[in-house]
Symmetry: C2
Subunit: 248 residues, 2 copies
């Protein structure tokens, strides 16, 4: 029986989602170990997004095959009792036998969090990028608008081997909240490796007046990875949702 | 020259505020080491509140004597460059030579954070108490109202040796926020050891229907530590402000 689960995790303590050859703990491996602990079965988990080391999730979607005699709710509770407290299964449901969280996904939404303040906030040290110089939201929003649509995003990331670098961005929204917190949310059919962090780095460069909107549009059009500049740190990034055709 | 500083810290990695004889890192010791690192001087720091292990602060107030040839702003920046990133000095200013952050404080405000959800939130694991059964805000607020005023709080905490257990609570407010987050804020002239966590434990017991408001009022009046029951975990507690007569 195939199951689909929605996962939240604080990525601080993990070397990314994907299982690695060396001993470094990853999200996938930790979830597979919890599945083994509750069932005795050796389970392979597939995830929708291969989040990097230090990147978080509130809506990662995973799939796995498991023999389980109880309800999906029991499975959720058993997993949460077995997982470390920096991970949690928010929801488990039965899925089609051929459901694949990565291939079936229509789009993914990431949120990048940052804040501007003269002094760092100790409570955000693993959760947001701390900036000290002010941001011009107006120019950031102009630059962000140029991301929407279908583009070759080679400047901002690298595709998996053999894949092409064209992606479609459905939405790119920069919001400033009280207390100088900023949230950048971006939805695309898929993302290149490091694409969100690279886009945020360039948008911040625009917001600090060190790159014009025209230059931003220019580096996107140039399709050259070397032009991207600043890479935003992983701690600010969260995979918040993955959309499928059967979502509502 | 005496300085007064406002301090924020994530208490997760510290064995409380106060310097201890053994090697466990404390907030006081860490700040004293940063002061030594930037000045070469051996400095003794006094804090307004002796927060417990795992308890946080956004508005702890400390005082220390230091020979410093630059501005208070330079001092703030130098300290923040030297402190670990789970601590931050929000503000430094010159103070009266006899300023004492504990004796001169008129009152302190603590906030306790908890949330009700079937599944834990990995991002709140060091920041809030996770409860799974619902709370009746109405009865909690009735019970909380009985705390306001001058009472012998022996049921809810222990005074320092030789001190009396009478304290004056100026405000005790329980707020429920969207997403079943609850914030309990309490302001008093001073607090007994473990008083806020003990009060929160009893209020939750009321909110879960396992103690009536009358029983809550009764155990407060009984002045017996053994009656307090549940002690809320330290991770939910934050010292948010200390009030002085010269605050605006």
């Amino acid at each position: 029986m195939r199951y689909r689960a929605t996962l939240a995790y604080d990525g601080t303590g993990y070397h990314g989602f994907q299982r690695q050859a060396n001993a470094a703990p990853t999200v996938q491996q930790t979830l597979e170990e919890a599945l083994h602990a509750i069932s005795g079965q050796t389970i392979r988990v597939i995830g929708a997004g291969r989040t990097d080391a230090g990147v978080h999730a509130t809506g990662q979607v995973v799939a796995f095959d498991l023999d389980w005699r109880h309800t999906p709710l029991d499975l959720r509770n058993a997993l949460n009792a077995s997982l470390p407290d920096d991970m949690a299964v928010r929801d488990v449901q039965g899925a089609r036998p051929d459901f694949h969280p990565r291939y079936d996904a229509l789009s993914r939404t990431y949120v990048y969090r940052l804040y501007v303040a003269p002094v760092r906030d100790p409570f955000l040290r693993f959760r947001a990028w701390h900036l000290t110089s002010p941001l011009d939201i107006r120019t950031i929003r102009q630059a962000a608008a140029s991301l929407v649509g279908t583009h070759d995003f080679s400047t901002f990331g690298t595709p998996p081997q053999g894949d092409n670098p064209v992606r479609t961005v459905y939405e790119a929204r920069w919001e400033a909240q009280p207390g100088e917190q900023h949230l950048f949310s971006i939805t695309a059919n898929a993302f290149l490796y490091r694409m969100v962090r690279s886009v945020v780095g360039a948008l911040v460069t625009v917001g600090q007046g060190r790159m014009t909107v025209e230059e931003f549009v220019g580096i996107l059009a140039a399709r050259q990875r070397s032009l991207a500049g600043l890479l935003a740190p992983p701690c600010g990034l969260t995979l918040v949702a993955v959309q499928y055709s059967d979502d509502g």
